[in-house]
Symmetry: C2
Subunit: 206 residues, 2 copies
DNA sequence: TGACAGTACTGGACAGTCCAGTTCATTCAC
DNA sequence: GTGAATGAACTGGACTGTCCAGTACTGTCA
């Protein structure tokens, strides 16, 4: 009789990854001990080592696992309609969604975590950047390219425009979050950043 | 008899700070041992502890000491002439100087160092952000305000404009540097970021 | 005489291993 | 179906080796 769709081993592995994600996020890589993780996962240390050969491997896996969750964001970016009349509000909505998604405490925390350990795990930092950040940016660039071909925007270098778009939006809140503990921005702040950023972007690129 | 202008004690202290700065930058906070620092400073461990009560205090001091070096940057930002004919090239020069200064390996490394340890030293992160980053931004905002009053720019919120300016310039190279090891940008890249960023900025704010 | 070098030491944390005994899911005989 | 048999996965805790912050002590030099 199979009451569990996953089986014991897979369930344990899942528990370990969730626990590890939580503890690494909260206490950083070197601040986290394997005992902490085992304890929080309600699992013996040996089981942790059965699933993940060492601490570095476990860390890599939990970090890269988070890039899977970006697909929704990709969809949003690709779905901006080619409609001149609503371009402003469509981009503003996109901007708000961008800001909301990227100022989630977990996302910022993960970003800090990756940056903090880019010395020790350079490949991990690069991989996360490519699979996460650049994937979204490339999609945004493609969207801008399409909008330009439809005559809604005037753009020479789509990728540069995409970087400008995100830089205008996120420079402020991301920087603040990197140096301070938690997020200091209210929803009103974010809305303001969104409208102001889109205004500046469209003034330059329409 | 005092043959040295500083005194032996002050010289030792200086040596310790320089050594600590180097090692912390290279190996991070937790990767650095007090023995490393003492050895590099050619000083006994006991002397290190005579000058700095513990590791945390030493770290804080060397990080905050770096914010003193921003005065040159402040001067540059404040000195943009109110001349409509050369506004474009003046801002582009400023942008280039900005980018060159902030993509220095030491600066990026320090930034990483502060972000990486913002969990453990939240006050330090906040202090560095305020005394370093926000000071430059505020000066830039004041300059924009002046340029707006002289009719060269059209600006509602000078501080927001300053953030947009720096976001347009630095989002790309700073992000790359945070996640990859060293700087991947050539001087040509930086020039391109500068001219493109200023072009976008002026299209929106002139 | 006081600041320093050099070095040994303490106390605690932690990665990773080992092992003896236990749980659990599957298989196969009845 | 029921119930043993089997082997893999798991527990819990002890153990090793290492690293490091901070202290103590002895000798040296100015």
């Amino acid at each position: 009789m199979e009451t569990n769709e996953q089986g014991r081993s897979a369930r344990k592995r899942q528990a370990i990854m969730e626990a590890a994600t939580g503890v690494f996020m909260e206490k950083g890589y070197s601040g986290t001990s394997m005992d902490d993780i085992a304890k929080l996962a309600a699992v013996s240390k040996q089981t942790v080592y059965k699933h993940f050969s060492d601490k570095e491997k476990l860390f890599s896996e939990i970090v890269l696992a988070t890039t899977d969750r970006l697909d929704g964001m990709i969809g949003l970016v690709a779905d901006v309609p080619s409609d001149a009349d609503t371009l402003d509000e469509n981009l503003t909505r996109l901007a708000r969604q961008f800001l909301t998604a990227l100022t989630q405490p977990q996302v910022l925390q993960l970003r800090r975590l990756v940056i903090a350990n880019a010395d020790i795990f350079p490949e991990l930092g690069a991989a996360w950047y490519e699979q996460g950040f650049e994937r979204v940016l490339a999609t945004l660039a493609a969207t801008f390219q399409r909008l330009a071909e439809d005559g809604l925007l005037r753009i020479d270098e789509p990728l540069l425009a995409a970087h400008h778009f995100s830089g205008l939006l996120m420079w402020i809140p991301v920087n603040q979050a990197m140096f301070h503990g938690g997020p200091q921005h209210t929803q009103a702040d974010l809305d303001h950043y969104a409208t102001a950023g889109v205004r500046t972007f469209l003034a330059a690129y329409r």
